[in-house]
């Protein structure tokens, strides 16, 4: 505190007190450290919040070299779906995949699918991104990987399906008013070809079999198409293996190890 603020003598206003109480700091000093409110532990707080809001508990920190990408519910595309739908937002997943490709810490990606399909464009965009990753990728279908979930499942380098999980293969439909039937038909056919081409290029299934499944009658009550359950998806060549999360993580770790070994061999040859 400067002298002019305090007054010069005892008789000047404001009268200085007879004794200066010792606060430990000068309240008028702008450079004095500001007393800090005790800060809650951020990690602990978010853990408590998660427990309260979602009934889930945070796991202790431990950096994993694999990233788990969950695709659930409807894959939301250019149209925001009404709130009763659980959705996966493509505008968040796509930059995430960019970050995964770029990240040094993450060596492999596990794609966990339990989806009922959704927007064709968004689904194909995610599929292309997963297929284009240079890092090992393993997909696992749990519960369901229907419609546009099929290309996402086959996009990974290796795919698993749980024994009870199902995949519906059926034709693409258009909702709403149709103007110009021949053109619309052509357009739909083209959209369908995109999906068929992607699936046949990224799995062992051939085009004729896939199309036959797509247009099979008598399996679905309100639609044409096929439902593949567990082993059936493997037998037709769509999925690589029946397995659960343990198999998927094990396979991913093995792919990562193989990749690292190959890199090491290349380096030692040079």
């Amino acid at each position: 505190m400067s002298e002019e603020n305090r007054g010069n003598g005892k008789n000047d206003f404001p009268y200085p007190p007879d004794f200066e109480p010792d606060h430990g700091c000068d309240p008028f000093d702008p450079n004095a450290p500001v007393p800090q409110e005790p800060q809650p532990d951020k990690q602990n707080q978010s853990g408590m919040q998660n427990l309260k809001e979602f009934g889930t508990n945070n796991l202790p920190d431990g950096k994993s070299n694999i990233h788990c990408l969950t695709i659930i519910g409807q894959i939301e595309g250019h149209l925001v779906l009404p709130p009763q739908n659980k959705t996966t937002k493509y505008e968040h997943i796509i930059p995430q995949l960019v970050a995964l490709e770029e990240s040094k810490d993450i060596e492999g990606v596990l794609v966990v699918l339990n989806t009922v399909g959704g927007d064709v464009e968004a689904g194909l965009a995610i599929s292309e991104m997963v297929a284009g990753l240079s890092k090992p990728t393993v997909a696992i279908v749990l519960g369901g990987g229907h419609s546009i979930g099929v290309p996402i499942a086959v996009a990974a380098k290796y795919s698993f399906i749980a024994l009870t999980a199902s995949m519906t293969i059926h034709p693409i439909r258009l909702n709403g008013l149709v103007i110009g039937v021949p053109q619309t038909y052509e357009y739909l056919d083209k959209m369908q070809d995109r999906v068929v081409r992607f699936v046949t290029q990224h799995s062992r299934i051939n085009e004729a079999t896939f199309r036959e499944m797509m247009f099979r009658t008598g399996e679905l009550a309100r639609d044409i198409g096929t439902v593949l359950i567990g082993q059936e998806a493997v037998e037709c060549g769509l999925i690589d293996e029946v397995g659960s999360v343990g198999h998927a993580v094990d396979k991913l770790k093995r792919l990562i190890r193989d990749k690292n070994q190959k890199q090491w061999e290349v380096q030692s040859v040079q």
């Binding site: 409807q74 925001v80 009404p82 930059p95 419609s147 909702n175 999906v195």
Partner: protein, 77 residues
């Protein structure tokens, strides 16, 4: 816009007409530009990230749907 799903479309699109456009605004949190929807005074929900840094999209605390609390900061327009 084609929705490719085995669910009945009337189920998926139910309530589409009654959907109100949420009142969103852009804020910056920890240097990450976000679009948020106000849910009450001093709190909001993350709608989406509009950052160009891909790392931001891996942050669990900024995932769309996360509730955030903030103190209003007034600044000159």
């Amino acid at each position: 816009m084609i929705i490719y799903t085995p669910l009945y479309l009337e189920l998926v699109l139910e309530g589409l007409e009654d959907m109100k456009e949420p009142k969103t605004r852009q804020v910056e949190l920890d240097g990450v530009p976000l679009v948020i929807e106000d849910t009450g005074p001093g709190q909001g929900r993350v709608v989406k990230l509009i950052s160009t840094n891909p790392r931001d999209y891996l942050r669990a605390d900024l995932y769309p749907g996360t509730e955030i609390k903030f103190t209003q900061q007034w600044s000159k327009p």
